[in-house]
């Protein structure tokens, strides 16, 4: 395998790369192309416009190794991450599918939830037009690396007019130090179908590792897809995620993305409105403290008329943490009657906390409604005094207000047990973040 590359870090990451074995030629070609791109690309620096506020150089100082054959966790270890509502669950441990920690029984007719490898033969006709076709990797080194490693992954297919009655949970569990994993998901929700997907990135133990994740989602005409993405990686971990969503005519896609963990995390969420009248909701919450950095780059691409998008991104930043939000709304020529709004709300809990927020509106149609707003602030002193004047001690008043700030995003998550879990995490973390 030729791994001559311009960048020593990528070279190191690709050292020992073995092309996943398989006889599916179109997939082998896509992997090979991705590998070629990974070799040609370089690790972004703050001189790259898209990475201007996010210095990922600490990532390049960690010697990542391919996953070793460590002992798999037991069901008892992962039980606490399981959402009881989600009767269907695929678990991946350090990037590898773990059937013993998964549950796929009892799915209704027309709903497929399967490891990708297993599905490739049986559902090739469904998979081939979409896999590695939506998440662009030509200029994205991490998406290219993920695609080059494409082997285990999740495949979700809800056939035309079928409704998946319960949420589907994908649990990506990291257990080993200095492991680089490449979680992958392809979800296809066909015309008129409905589904709720939970992607949960979490860890057992506090290790340094890298999760380089790519998710591709296709929402067919008139379909409804709710997508919860929880990033609660270990505190020293690195998380780089790409999520690309294609939304067809009159379809509804709602994203609820929560970032709590990782030393450095980045999410690129790209939603492409491919058909008229699509309705998109994008909720984001980053809650970070200490020396964490959480970066969300979103793109709402209104490529067709009559699209609607509501975006609410919130950051709660304590300690010396740094949150980045870049929200781009693109209204293509001819996408008349687009109705798109974006709100970026940021709460700083300490003097050293830092937020960079950047709305980016590119509008090439003249009959559209686009609004955006950004606010960065501290807890409101009048609200604090009001609560204290009713007997609440100052720390409790602060926590309540911080929690209330997050609640707007959390409460809209369509999985109650997860809302409850996240609310507890938020309360615990705000109490920590709040320390001077």
């Amino acid at each position: 395998m030729n791994t001559a590359t311009g960048h020593p870090y990528i070279e190191a990451l690709l050292k020992g790369y073995e092309a996943p074995r398989g006889s599916i030629s179109w997939l082998n070609e896509r992997r090979a192309h991705a590998l070629e791109r990974a070799n040609a690309l370089t690790v972004p620096t703050t001189r790259d416009e898209e990475w201007r506020f996010t210095d990922i150089s600490p990532l390049t100082r960690v010697p990542f190794r391919p996953a070793a054959g460590a002992a798999r966790p037991a069901m008892a270890d992962v039980a606490r991450f399981v959402a009881p509502e989600a009767t269907t669950r695929l678990t991946f441990v350090d990037g590898a599918f773990a059937p013993e920690l998964s549950a796929t029984a009892g799915l209704p007719y027309g709903v497929v939830v399967s490891p990708l490898v297993a599905a490739l033969d049986m559902h090739a006709a469904v998979i081939k037009p979409h896999l590695a076709r939506h998440a662009a990797f030509e200029h994205e080194v991490f998406a290219a690396l993920n695609t080059a490693h494409l082997r285990d992954g999740a495949f979700i297919w809800v056939a035309r007019n079928q409704k998946c009655p319960t949420p589907i949970q994908l649990l990506y569990l990291s257990t080993q130090k200095e492991n680089a994993a490449y979680p992958r998901c392809l979800a296809i929700v066909e015309a008129g179908a409905e589904c709720t997907l939970v992607e949960d990135f979490t860890s057992l133990g506090e290790n340094i590792y890298l999760n380089d994740a790519v998710t591709e989602i296709v929402v067919g005409e008139g379909a409804r897809m709710r997508h919860v993405r929880v990033q609660r990686e270990a505190g020293d971990a690195f998380h780089i995620g790409h999520c690309t969503v294609a939304v067809a005519k009159d379809a509804h896609y709602a994203s609820h993305a929560v970032a709590l963990g990782a030393r450095i995390s980045r999410l690129d969420l790209n939603v492409l409105q491919q058909g008229e009248g699509a309705d998109v909701q994008m909720d984001g919450l980053a809650l970070i403290s200490g020396r964490q950095l959480a970066d969300t780059h979103s793109l709402m691409d209104h490529a067709r008329p009559h699209g609607r998008c509501r975006q609410m991104h919130k950051c709660i930043v304590g300690g010396a943490a740094h949150a980045v939000f870049n929200g781009k709304i693109m209204v293509r020529p001819g996408s008349q009657l687009t109705d798109s709004s974006q709100q970026s709300r940021n709460l700083l809990l300490s003097d050293k906390a830092h937020v960079d927020t950047k709305p980016q509106l590119e509008i090439f149609a003249d009959d559209v409604k686009c609004a955006h707003g950004a606010a960065v602030g501290r807890l409101d002193l009048e609200q604090l005094f009001y609560l204290r004047s009713r007997g609440l001690p100052e720390p409790q008043a602060r926590n309540l207000l911080t929690y209330a700030f997050a609640a707007e995003v959390l409460e809209r998550i369509p999985v109650p047990s997860l809302v409850e879990q996240l609310e507890k995490t938020v309360l615990a973390q705000t109490q920590m973040a709040d320390r001077p």
Binding site: Y386, R388, S389, R390, L401
Partner: protein
């Protein structure tokens, strides 16, 4: 009700206070005994609201001189929440909106905090709900109040009713109501006044801060104080309020 020898709940002597470095209160003396209703009146800018907020401990109001004893202890040594737990209540002129915090959860939290200090049992959500609905009925408050966030999107009148509801729940020993009558229509005014009248008992007291006399048609004060220029310039009985209503504030200023 004036009773000689009743316990002194609040004793303010020579109180001075600054806002953003500017002295607003320039030496206030006021004694409030249990069972009494005091009205603090005065033109705009006379320092009435500053007086109320300084007593409740608003951090933007800096006490620069004088003393205040509350039920015998030094009021200014207490944090705002400690004052509240000791039974001091400020009804806000502009109640603050807190989106994301449900009104029912907030009311229960406030109630239980104060109950705990008084050595009484906290109520669980169901028990509290019963208790709360009873209080709401008395104050003619709609049940939808509970499902909404604290004061979020409330009309002016709804916010003031919510203040009175909090007062009714917390049963303060000393309630300071800052312009609670402003912005109320006559029905709401009656409801609010009823709420206040129900609170007044021999062992607690109310200080009404108001610009207009009309609230005093429903709540009869034992004392009326007129503030001007950061001082109390005249003190009298209910008749003084009527005289102010008829003659305005200018004659008091001149006489002072």
């Amino acid at each position: 009700m004036i009773r000689a020898g009743a316990e002194i709940l609040l004793e303010v002597k020579g109180l001075r206070a600054k806002v953003a470095g500017v002295e607003i209160l320039k030496g206030i003396d006021l004694t409030v005994r249990a069972g009494e209703v005091h009205a603090v009146m005065g033109p705009n800018g006379s320092g009435k609201s500053t007086f109320a907020k300084a007593l409740a401990g608003h951090p933007a109001y800096e006490v620069s001189g004088g003393t205040a004893a509350y039920a015998g202890s030094d009021l200014f040594a207490l944090a705002p929440e400690q004052r509240a737990r000791a039974g001091l209540f400020l009804g806000f002129q502009y109640p603050v909106e807190i989106p994301g915090v449900s009104n029912s959860a907030f009311l229960r939290l406030a109630y239980n905090t104060v109950q705990a200090v008084r050595g009484k049992d906290e109520l669980d959500p169901l028990e509290f709900d019963d208790y709360l609905r009873e209080k709401m009925k008395l104050l003619d408050i709609d049940a939808s109040f509970l499902d909404r966030a604290v004061n979020d999107g409330f009309s002016g009148g709804e916010k003031k009713r919510n203040e009175i509801l909090q007062m009714a729940l917390l049963e303060p020993r000393l309630a300071i109501l800052d312009e609670t009558d402003s912005g109320l229509d006559i029905d709401a005014l009656r409801v609010v006044a009823n709420g206040v009248n129900r609170l007044v008992k021999p062992d607690n007291a109310v200080v009404l801060v108001t610009h207009y006399q009309r609230m005093l048609n429903y709540i009869v004060p034992d004392y009326v104080h007129v503030m001007d220029g950061g001082r109390i310039v005249k003190t009298g009985g209910k008749a003084l309020a009527e005289e102010l209503e008829a003659r305005g504030y200018d004659w008091v200023k001149e006489a002072a």
